[in-house]
Symmetry: C2
Subunit: 526 residues, 2 copies
């Protein structure tokens, strides 16, 4: 569908001769722009409050009743014993924590988390009105630099980590943005973690595919940050999905214990396909999700009192015609707003998903779905804004083109959330007097003083005339975005990493790869 | 770029034989669904308040100072005389109304307008939290049912009016959605108005290309609704653009006078390209726009005390690199929220623009831009939501594909704005108890009771698997949307219109077409 642009490839790869001073200067300027990470979001938008305080209370009460009366399965003997010791009613695998216990446990979850990146300039706070954008993860396919849909490799993953490193609005390199299918499943967590660490100096995520794998991630973080650093510094995030309705399984709980006992934040994420694994109705679906999330959050505090933890969820609605998960639907926007209110009610940082969508290509559907969701989550006040770049086809592929466009959309969201500037108000009103009726402002000193940052001008949107657009090759956004991604990758430079640490990471990986049999089974001894 | 789908064409056009009972039944069901107009929006979203009350006041004060000290040009001798008589300082073409006069004049603008359609079931209220979606207008090109970009004809315009009539979330058929280039400019207003009236029984807009043309529109409305009906019933909307900065011209003012003196609402719309014809800064741009809008609104009340009028604007930001107008940018979202606050402050219904964008095709850019804007204007609480379907290429073309997708997005926005339903909350919580951990809800009685309306399932988004999508022809959204548009048009039926009225309208048009020389000049004798 797309043809690659040889020009862009050549310009990145050609040898650098003596006449390239001008190009180097342009490159330096471009790099300065793209290498600058936007500060983590300080969201000045007033959060969208769809629920009255009474309605928040009504959902809270319903969630408490679900936990007390229906209960929730913790399918893991260690967790069941811990719940018993914490004073919950436990019946076979069913835990029925009462509201006093839940509320007491979650009371020690920190309201804010500061992520420490290996480059301290890339640290980021999450909680209150502070937020970060994190790329998508988990795609079994990609749409590559030629817009071809295929299985990803470790090199593809490296490219996504490089892009995440360079794109200013992304605050994390995440982890397995795509699954590196050229590597044995049982070893993947090691190579994925290394790729996140090596290709970016932003914060990242840690694999939770088993307790053992999570321990390997912790060990690699200790090598990167120092043995004791993590005791007091969040450096990595684990995601822990609940199997909605009302089940936490052993893999997830074992991983949670590893992260929480190392004082690292986990996202306690009910995996909601509303209508299939929750009631087909917004408020009761949120009540169930809230019961699930709170039980996971409470469990983190049983594991390690005071450990950071984040209220999470994956959220889709299900087509009642086909059973397919949907994105960008009004009910998802509503639920985002409602969950944001609940998370603020409990004083816990909140993770949501951003640019979800079900399109098979980067067509207009993908654009509508992603933008709707971005607006919804910004206005809902989400903190850990996951899946902020690349997601398409219900998560089945990560699109390179969409990755860079989504990241620019996040930069636009960042600007929106920064609120209205007033510092030049009087200066600009003086300009209105100068110009008067019928004039124009393009040459006025106020415009010249402010033009660079006054009005966001998206790089990847084309706003030229039809004739100019045709003369430039009639490029739709997919093609422009892929050219842009190629340019970025051509300009990529590794962020400095102490060679001794790099070697120690590789040593650890080599050792573990001899210890763990290469296999397409997960390394799942919990 | 697109190939047409013969299947859809055939199914719509084939003769109906005896074995088609099943298809007729399906068609009837489909028609029942699409012919149902969604009630005008009652927006239950709490409006996004970016400004504190002090900041609203600060902008108001700045706008008043602009009007009093800089003044605004009314380039029309009648208007200048009227302003003088109303007590304003008038100097050559410059009017400097003081704040007391402005505030006194706008105080008689009704806070709500009820549009009366020729089918009373299609009436719609605008103002407060009541809103309507109105399609785009004014495109000199279209992208047609084959996605070919070309000059539009009167038949193309009729097709858009038919689609506007059938798409449930559109509350108006507007007027010249596309310019009928096959008809002389001087006669177009007659044919455009007739097409709006004939092909849809929803409310519509009236041409303001000259005072004389506006009078023709009034006469046609009198034929359609009865001589005196309009004195007390708004039936048609005129748009009056200010030439920002701070100019109202004679064509616009003459048209305004015709509409207002017939008690028909006008949109008083500064035409803002922020950075070019306003300062390159959000708050001062809004202060200028507000001064312009209020002066137009005040003038409507000089013309006809108590006439309905709507706070309007066209809003883009300008790229400081190329001077091109942009859409979907963060500053536009901010300005929408701010203007909404001002309009509510003054208690005047508010018109904004919806799915604006600069893409040349219906690609992902178009999707992002449109969805961002839709979310922004819904959350800003806009009332008269113009350009809600079809707009692309900065308004240079109306896309058939985008028209039907945008309309569905409006339906999704309608659902979002309708707020959270609570009526099945207890029933659904009982379902949570029934299902318990690890179950699923698809077969539960609660789901069966509610599945038809519980979760919005967009017709034009594909959420099937990649394999299924491939098996169905790998159709991107443009192709699916064009097939859908063809199906709608094949099923179109004229809404009933009294043949005597129809004939009277055509008589009037024939008479005027003999009186007005056929010409490619506008009929501009004011």
């Amino acid at each position: 569908m797309m043809t690659t642009t040889n020009t862009a490839m050549k310009s990145g790869r050609s040898p650098r001769g003596r006449r390239e001073g001008g190009r180097d200067a342009r490159r330096a300027k471009r790099l300065a722009r793209v290498h600058h990470m936007l500060a983590p979001l300080e969201n000045k938008l007033p959060p969208l409050e769809l629920l009255s305080p009474e309605q928040v209370e009504r959902i809270h009460e319903a969630s408490m009743a679900i936990l007390e009366e229906v209960g929730i399965d913790f399918r893991d003997p260690v967790a069941l014993q811990q719940w018993r010791e914490a004073g919950a009613e436990v019946d076979d695998q069913r835990v029925r924590p009462d509201r006093a216990l839940i509320m007491e446990l979650i009371s020690t979850i920190p309201a804010r988390v500061t992520y420490h990146a290996r480059n301290p300039e890339r640290n980021g706070e999450v909680g209150g009105n502070h937020s970060i954008f994190v790329p998508m993860t988990g795609a079994p396919y990609l749409r590559d630099l030629d817009d071809v849909r295929r299985l990803p490799t470790l090199d593809d993953l490296a490219n996504f980590h490089k892009l995440a490193h360079m794109l200013p609005a992304l605050h994390s390199s995440a982890h397995h943005i795509v699954e590196p299918m050229d590597h044995p499943v049982s070893h993947r967590h090691l190579r994925i973690t290394y790729s996140s660490m090596k290709h970016s100096d932003k914060t990242f995520m840690g694999m939770t595919t088993s307790g053992k794998n999570a321990e390997d991630v912790m060990r690699m973080c200790q090598i990167l940050f120092g043995e004791d650093y993590m005791d007091s510094h969040p450096v990595v995030t684990g995601n822990i999905n609940a199997n909605s309705p009302l089940v936490w399984d052993q893999v997830m709980l074992a991983s949670l214990r590893v992260f929480s006992s190392h004082n690292q934040p986990v996202l306690c994420s009910p995996f909601v396909m509303a209508g299939a694994n929750t009631p087909a109705s917004v408020a009761p679906a949120v009540a169930q999700l809230n019961a699930e999330a709170l039980s996971g959050l409470a469990y983190t505090q049983i594991v390690h009192r005071g450990a950071p933890a984040i209220y999470g969820h994956y959220l889709s609605t299900v087509s009642m015609k086909s059973g397919a998960p949907m994105a960008g639907t009004p009910e998802i926007s509503m639920m985002n707003a409602m969950i944001g209110q609940l998370a603020r009610h409990y004083g816990i940082p909140w993770r949501t998903s951003n640019t979800l969508g079900g399109a098979k290509t980067f067509d207009a559907q993908a654009g509508y779905e992603s933008a709707t969701t971005l607006m919804a989550v910004l206005l809902a006040g989400a903190n850990y804004i996951w899946h902020s770049a690349g997601w398409n086809e219900a998560g089945m592929h990560c699109s390179v083109a969409k990755f860079v466009v989504d990241a620019e959309q996040c930069a636009m969201g960042h600007r929106l959330a920064s609120g209205v500037k007033w510092d030049d108000f009087d200066e600009a009103l003086a300009a209105v007097r100068d110009i008067g009726p019928g004039g124009h402002y393009l040459g006025h000193q106020h415009t010249l003083n402010h033009f660079e940052n006054a009005l966001f001008s998206p790089e990847l949107f084309d706003n030229s005339s039809y004739e100019q657009w045709e003369a430039e090759g009639s490029k739709e956004i997919t093609r422009r975005a892929l050219e842009y991604a190629r340019k970025l990758l051509a300009d990529y430079e590794y962020p400095p990493l102490d060679p001794a640490i790099d070697e120690a990471l590789l040593d650890f990986i080599r050792r573990r790869e001899t210890e763990i049999p290469a296999s397409d089974e997960l390394n799942q001894s919990y």
